[in-house]
Amino acid sequence: MSLSASPEARWTSVGLTEEEYREIVRRLGREPNDVELGLFGVMWSEHCSYKSSRKLLKILPSAGERVRLGPGENAGVLDIGGGWAVALRIESHNHPSAVEPYQGAATGVGGIVRDILSTGARPVALLDALSFGLPDSPRDRALLRGIVEGIGGYGNCLGVPTVGGETVFHSGYDGQPLVNVMCVGLVRLERLVRGRAEGEGNVLMLVGARTGRDGIHGASLLASRGLSEGGEDKRPAVQVGDPFIGKRLIEACAELVEAGWVAGLTDLGAAGLTSAAAEAAGRAGRGVVLELDRVPLREDGMTPYEIMLSESQERMLIIATPEGAGRVEAACRRWGLEAAAVGRVTGDGYLRVRWRGREVAAVPVRDLTEAAPAYERPWRAPAPVTPEPGRGVAAGPSRGGAAAPSHGGAPRPADPSEAFLDFLSSVHVASRAPVYRRYDHEVQTNTVLRPGHDAAVIRVRGTRKGLALATDGAGRWGGLDPYYAGAIAVAEAARNVSCVGAEPIGLTDCLNFGNPEDPHVMWQFRRALEGIRDACLALGIPVTGGNVSFYNETDGRQIPPTPVVGMVGLIEDIERLVPSSPRCPGALWLLGGGAVSQEGSLWQMWREGRVHGQCPPLDLSLEAAVQALVREAAGHGWIRAAHDVSDGGLLVAAAEMALSPEIPWGLRLQLPEAGDAWTAAYGEGGARVLVVPAGPEAERALMRRAEERAVPCREVGRLTEDGRVIVKSGRDAWVDVAAERAARAWKEGWAWLL
């Protein structure tokens, strides 16, 4: 990149504002040279500095008994007992995936895996939370296919099972999909390492792929602006992933960590060597000197600027003692990986860059990292102000909805049975198997509960413990009320984990928003954070870190505010886990309750192509009580299956329990007497879980505990063996179809799309 002489071009070329440039000059006491300006440009980018969000993120509760590493590190780490810890992190790769879906998604997987590696953990599971535009244009279908293939292409090769995620469709993501990937790793507590450049004189070793011109100003700048700006000039920035090197990095790092030869470890992500070195030095309060002549290059004639900013994938930075450096190199060589000593830790607090015998940059590390600018961007609530949910503004069960669409939407469907089948086979509801069967979800042979259940469960080998993993995003609610979206994403992810019998112990969040310079977007962001905070406090779950993705806008079109939560639950005895569908039929009970409405529901989305109205009221204390009850019931073996009632409402949840086995069960469901059948069947809201009690004694015990915990609890139907799905509203059979037909609709609904 040529940095032209015109003063304005200097800052705009690296994505900075004039004020930011002046601030750099003030801090350095001189004009930065081109290399230094490049360092500031990437490190002060939104993507690296979190300058619009840093202050606000502090409101999230991050403390907890189990938390060993929290926000600020490469990944969060939770103590799960028995000497084991779990590392978790989620990250977005939205912008790269919109430009090049396969490689964007693939490098999203690679990137998050290396974050987990940085703690010394071995990656044991991946989850992908995907949001797509409605697949009615070739472009959106191509994005869907490319992204799913990219996740699989990388993850499958890597040998880390992709055990869960979600797949959402909403017109707000047309042309701007969201790709949020979560990785979970396991590490012995005594082997935990950190991304810190400790110990003056220690050696910085760059390991893995060679450095090329890929992605210079890629992730950092791309993700710090909207998609419409620029265009062609950003294209050469696309990075290509190499899972074969990624896999060998996992093995080499595991060996090195096990042997204790690693003093610090960090990945190279956005802003490449610059951010890896600066952040590692910053966390340790040290300085570093980098010798760029020692960096193995893939292309000829690379400049210091390019080497420092390259976002070539599959590279890690290992901080080793001078004696350990040789061993690091040997272990890497055994795996066919290059390892080069490219610098060392110093005591002066400066990031110094040397090239061809000269110092080409010298910048205080602090100015690149913790002392980077942080803004309080102006924010403004939209008018008229949405009443705060959870404070008694209930959207009554009969408001809006199919019977009387408040915005003149689709008319009431003629035949409830046909409508049921159509809804089941829609992209919104149909089984996600067409996606997850493209992912190896069993490699490593620890997957006890495979995708398709509320949460996946992987065992911790050598113990009886299991980890329950789920992601939940709430973009559909985000446009209606970002506070509700933040809270419900946490609540539903925790509910998913509780339904399999696990205790939620920590979460990582990915906040996908539009342009933070738009005060309305900033308001959305603040409200979503408040929602996440309140739900975390109510449910007692710490946030161990996460990721913010701003500038998800195209030609001024902002995505719906989309908080995504990745949850980790702990189950002490995997024999006690509960699937979402039972192995034998039985009664169907509904635990919990709350007001239910069609506004904002998936049903409304499907019928009208968009959502509108108000979010249902939020009752976080009922949520906590329902989840605790389900976990208790699982622990005592009182239930044979549990499934949360969320997307699609009560009937969809019950249908999924009945239809997901290979040979589907029949279903009887009794809708409540009062109110509109459509709302009762498909309305969303409240804190609700369907369970199949394990027998009469279990029913009594469950009933008693539900009363003690003040959780509503009643029988609403049965799973049967008679091959029919019959839903009654009052005394009438409202829906009556063959289970086989319903199962086909649900299982094959959208397989053609992929």
Partner: protein, 86 residues
Amino acid sequence: MRWRAVVAVELKPGVLDPQGEAVREALRRMGHDHVSDVRVGKRIQLLLEAAEEGEARARVRDICESLLVNPVLERYAFDIEPEGER
């Protein structure tokens, strides 16, 4: 009239080619250390109808740009000849 087009699709220079890298390493291990670079691309052969060569070329170009080639990562070239000549 029938034409045979052979499209060569290759990664743009500078774009990482993990396949090519792995092949080069394997060749080196096998003793072929005189090989300094390997790039793996695609070769797509089409049979198509067109009245004359100009039309055939235009069609192939259109097909390349709308489907065969990912312009973010790849570039292409093609040869065309009346079918049956080879």
